[in-house]
């Protein structure tokens, strides 16, 4: 077996062939350390890795690297999210060195939601590099030990490199090629957009399998339990790139009064069961949006506990 690329716990879990289970933690819109610690509690021991979002939806929040360090102090394995919207290549590489120096071993390279979505719509979007190029830059830093500009790095940061994939957005036939580009750029693992349209997802994974991509990258399927019919409709109509089939909304509407969230969790667990058996899928990324305290229950019911110790 080849050497490990990083000190990432996720890498060890995936390499050992375990079905990974990862979660998410959104930093606060303030500097409360307690807030992060509270959110971290229900995740501890229930997930292998926690994505720490980076100014998500273009709203200012505690920086991802700082919240990642707090999460690490709480015993979690942070996945430092980095968006291309807010930093140029100098700031990116500097932050990567700093994050690695502080014991962060995973990074998720993203484009980032457009500034227009947030509460600073007049901000200048940086977009010096795009997400695929960011992946390539981090790989070069790690494997070649050089900065993007070519100079040598003293103690290169050994990051386990993640990326995102949206298997649903149009043009659908392009999606697997975009994945292929990220694989060629050097991505180690992929966390997908929230999956609701299972039929389309199966097709996308089949394409990725046929192209041999799933042998080169670990794909974690994105799962978001719906809390309410309103949330499902909002995601269908208002969140760009989201594909929520009518059957999902109908099923939630059909739930007994007071049992809609329960139905949402049930749907999520059924999905997870299917992903465990799906060829080319290495784990699940659970995005329990503002529902971190439900993660232990969902993990329990999805039968992914206990988490492997590696």
């Amino acid at each position: 077996m080849a050497e490990f690329k990083s000190n990432s716990k996720l890498e060890r879990i995936l390499r050992a062939g375990h079905f990974a289970f990862t979660g998410e933690l959104g930093p606060p819109r303030g500097s409360s350390v307690e807030h992060v610690r509270e959110k971290a509690k229900p995740l501890k021991g229930n997930v292998d890795l926690v994505n720490i979002t980076d100014n998500q939806t273009a709203m200012v929040r505690m920086s991802s690297w700082a919240a990642s360090i707090i999460a690490k102090e709480e015993g979690l394995e942070p996945n430092y999210q980095m968006v291309c919207r807010d930093r140029n290549r100098l700031a990116m590489q500097g932050d990567i060195l700093g994050a690695y120096a502080m014991g962060i071993n995973n990074i998720l390279c993203l484009s980032g939601d457009h500034m227009q979505f947030g509460d600073h719509p007049g901000a200048k979007g940086v977009f010096d590099v795009d997400s695929t190029q960011l992946i390539h830059m981090v790989k070069k830093m790690r494997d070649e030990g050089t900065f993007q500009g070519g100079a040598e790095i003293e103690e290169p940061p050994k990051m386990f490199i993640g990326g995102a994939a949206n298997p649903f957005a149009e043009p659908f036939e392009w999606r697997v090629h975009r994945l292929a580009k990220k694989v060629a750029a050097g991505v180690d693992f992929i966390q997908t957009q929230c999956i609701f349209n299972m039929e389309k997802f199966r097709k996308w994974v089949a394409q990725a399998n046929d192209m041999g991509l799933t042998e080169k990258v670990y794909i974690l399927a994105g799962v978001t339990p719906m809390k309410s019919v309103g949330m499902a409709k909002y995601m269908k109509n208002r969140v760009p790139g989201m594909d929520v089939p009518d059957e999902i909304i109908k099923r939630l509407q059909g739930a007994e009064k007071g049992k809609v969230a329960e139905e949402g969790i049930k749907i999520a667990c059924e999905q997870i069961e299917e992903f465990k058996e799906m060829k080319g899928i290495a784990g699940v990324h659970l995005m329990a949006i503002e529902w971190e305290h439900k993660v232990p229950e969902i993990a329990e019911r999805a039968k992914v506990l206990p988490r492997p110790v590696v």
């Binding site: 590099v129 190029q133 149009e170 090629h177 790139g241």
Partner: protein
């Protein structure tokens, strides 16, 4: 062409507070085509200005002039004889024209009458669309003649991003997704292989003021510098 928008009247009026003799200079090229800073617009601004100042009890004397291209010293020189008669000049040209005018008359306040908005096309009368950010490193040859730097809200070079909304951009349903369009056009021309390979990190060349001197003119430039 360069597309501009007339500045709001109040802003121009504030810039001109305290000046009683104003020369407003239109530009006959891009800003005239986009109906922001040509002959008509210069005259109209003067009328607005005189009326407002009359009402305020601070009358102003104005004159409208028109220059073929304010980005060309040769044409600006036509104003040399009249400039001294005015306290301030409003240039209705793009930002390049305003600056060249200010350079020609360094002792006069030269004020902008328009906001220079973008390099774009004339879709119809009064309807213009941005098409180019003048990044200095044109990708159009591989992207099916659609610029991802300008037309993608995130200037992605390996897009489309996950926010593509059917065929629209995530920022707005009326804004087509540039990468969707690139994909469709290249697919139609059987050139998809153009975008299957990663486009490398961009060497941005628009971070410093740029100058181009064509080889045949290098000596001329040197002669200027010696002066």
């Amino acid at each position: 062409m360069i597309v501009a928008e007339r500045k709001p009247f109040d802003e121009i009026s504030d810039l001109l507070a305290g000046y009683d003799k104003v020369l407003t200079v239109g530009c006959k090229t891009c800003v005239a085509v986009c109906l922001a800073g040509g002959e008509k617009e210069a005259a109209l601004l003067n009328k607005e200005l005189m009326l407002a100042r009359k009402v305020a009890g601070k009358p102003v004397e104005t004159c409208a002039a028109l220059v073929e291209r304010q980005c060309d010293m040769e044409f600006l020189a036509e104003l040399d004889d009249i400039v001294d008669q005015y306290d301030a000049i409003v240039s209705m040209a793009c930002g390049a024209g305003v600056q060249f005018m200010a350079e020609r008359y360094p002792t006069k306040p030269v004020l902008p009458g328009v906001n220079t908005t973008f390099i774009g096309v004339n879709r119809d009368v009064g309807w213009y669309e941005e098409k180019c950010r003048s990044c200095g490193n044109c990708l159009l040859g591989v992207t099916g003649g659609i610029c991802p730097i300008t037309m993608c809200a995130k200037s992605l070079m390996n897009g489309p991003c996950g926010g593509t909304n059917q065929t629209s951009c995530e920022i707005n349903k009326d804004q087509p997704c540039a990468w969707y369009a690139i994909y469709q056009r290249l697919a139609g021309q059987d050139r998809l292989d153009n975008i299957l390979k990663m486009t490398e990190i961009m060497d941005w060349r628009n971070n410093v003021p740029r100058t181009i001197v064509q080889p045949g003119y290098e000596q001329r430039k040197a002669a200027f510098s010696d002066k």
